[in-house]
Symmetry: C2
Subunit: 337 residues, 2 copies
């Protein structure tokens, strides 16, 4: 769920299909849903801090784009903005809890809630936000979206738990990696499309196709994020160099590089040093070079392209619609560096 | 939210008014609501572990007792068991997250989720459970209960956040203490009564009175818990001696003892040593002696008695009902050592 600077910028450009006026509506609901009787208290300060730092709002945009395919779009518009606000709040809550586990000092360029207010505030600010989301899903009568969202959060938690149990395991498989990133990123992208499609009255076949587009986008997004870690540092701004590898989270480029006995043998020493926490800068550079030489980056690109083709095939079959070119543009943007 | 051995035992005896058959129904729903497709996975193991360790089920019992006052009790019975299961699951989820903050090694005599599976699993197992609760509230159509429950969780989080910000503050006030324990304990007791009363069709006046009984019981429960820390160790089994004081959480007996300038002067050195983390066993014994001499224990008992009188007054005015004597018995039990 890490978010990189350059990727954020280009996705913002590509997602121009959702208007600023629409996004402002979403932001208004976020503000309204988090305003509360604790406004002038410490709890209020922690919360405002947590939700005011906004990212690229990709999940709300997906809700709105998928929602625009529905026959009840016009009447469902406000509901879509509310659902979009609640999925973004869910994302924010998940980031607060991720930062506890990662002990991350920064989030979106600002000190994380944990760093700023302590672990206790971070645990309970995340929980507070989740219960506020539950309350408003119920109050706004967004039951169908709420059940989709709750199931996505489950998948996110399961993905994080299994990822934690995979840490520092040199024998982690590609299937396990895919399962972990499904939870980390894909589940919520998928849920965004399903929520939008459901609320605006798409039929079940269209809902499935739109959620499959969301799923492919989610995989592309996370795989691309993991691949960006392997680009030379000079091409990346604000890049945390191989934080995942240092923390024993072996991503797709490493796992592809380890598919042959030779690859495993070459990379095993670096994995062992990540366990011991004694990786040097030179180790990292050498590991990166070997992953590239063993084809790990190239094969990750191929995997991204496969998701791209899948998404393009689904989009080609969708009813002709003003949101289709925007979704296609996003898919293509994620399919090239 | 700590739970003491002897208190648990006497509350179990007193709450005999709810039958084993009814509690088994609640436990069945808890099992059903936590069963899932991750059953054979690591996530499943973490979750089963978290919900299998059951306490005295005081909150489910309050849901059922309050619910029995409603005119639609017979038809609402299954809904009450479901709501009762979901409030107990909420309590379990909160305990998992509390243990992250407290870094508690044990919970209900077993290793805490955090100790057993790590911080990451504890954060996400709690979140998983919360989203499972949200899902089932929606699927079972328990909207009114769900909104009450979500608001109670908010209050719990706010209470924990403000308690964390009160830690090690020698000038913390009784008003702040009461606000903190409202969140820690009272809010969920109150919600239990409101949920039961709502689901079984009590009118608003009766709902309010029942939730006020829940509120008084919650205050009594937490104040008594805090007072038990000040009983000589020999009277208590498994007592963590002044864990709160050591961690800079100054409870009612300490705060009453600090009400006079003389009291503040006498206790200040121990508070300072709790900040520095260098309290000796002798310090603790001396602090305890001084709190008693300054009337801190006596006045805490008075505060408990005031809540008792309040609860008894409400109960005396309630419609004559088979659950009334059980509630009165519980109130009286909490009103004496």
């Amino acid at each position: 769920m890490k978010e990189k600077g350059p990727l954020t910028t280009c996705i913002r450009q590509v997602l121009g299909g959702v208007s600023d006026a629409q996004l402002n509506k979403v932001k208004q609901y976020m503000k309204q849903f988090t305003a509360h009787s604790f406004a002038d208290t410490a709890t209020g300060a922690v919360l405002q801090d947590a939700v005011s730092s906004q990212g690229k709002m990709i999940r709300p945009r997906l809700v709105i784009m998928a929602g625009s395919f529905g026959k009840r779009y016009a009447e469902a518009e406000e509901r879509l903005y509310k659902a979009a606000a609640l999925i973004e709040m869910t994302h924010s809550a998940s980031l607060i809890h991720d930062d506890i586990v990662d002990e991350a000092p920064l989030r979106r360029g600002k000190p994380s809630v944990q760093r700023r207010y302590g672990k206790s505030a971070a645990v309970y600010a995340g929980d507070f936000l989740m219960s506020r989301i539950t309350y408003h899903l119920m109050q706004e009568g967004l039951m169908q979206s709420g059940m989709v969202l709750a199931k996505a959060v489950e998948a996110m938690c399961a993905g994080e738990i299994t990822q934690a149990l995979c840490r520092y395991r040199a024998d982690v498989t590609l299937a396990e990696y895919l399962q972990n990133i499904y939870g980390k990123t894909v589940a919520l992208f998928r849920a965004a499309c399903r929520m939008g499609a459901l609320e605006s009255g798409c039929d079940e076949s269209l809902i499935r196709r739109l959620e499959n587009v969301g799923e492919a986008l989610g995989y592309m997004f996370q795989m691309r994020d993991d691949l960006l870690d392997f680009l030379p540092v000079t091409e990346q701004i604000g890049k945390a160099s191989h934080q995942d590898f240092r923390e024993g989270i072996y991503t797709m480029p490493v796992l592809y590089a380890c598919e042959t006995p030779q690859g495993r043998k070459m990379l095993r020493p670096y994995m062992e040093r990540s366990v011991q926490g004694c990786l040097t800068g030179q180790d990292i550079a050498e590991m990166e070079r070997q992953v590239a030489a063993l084809g790990g980056m190239e094969r990750t690109w191929q995997a991204i392209r496969e998701q791209q083709k899948k998404a393009e095939r689904i989009l080609a079959d969708l009813p002709s619609h003003s949101a289709s070119p925007q979704l296609l543009k996003l898919v293509r943007k994620l399919g090239c560096l």
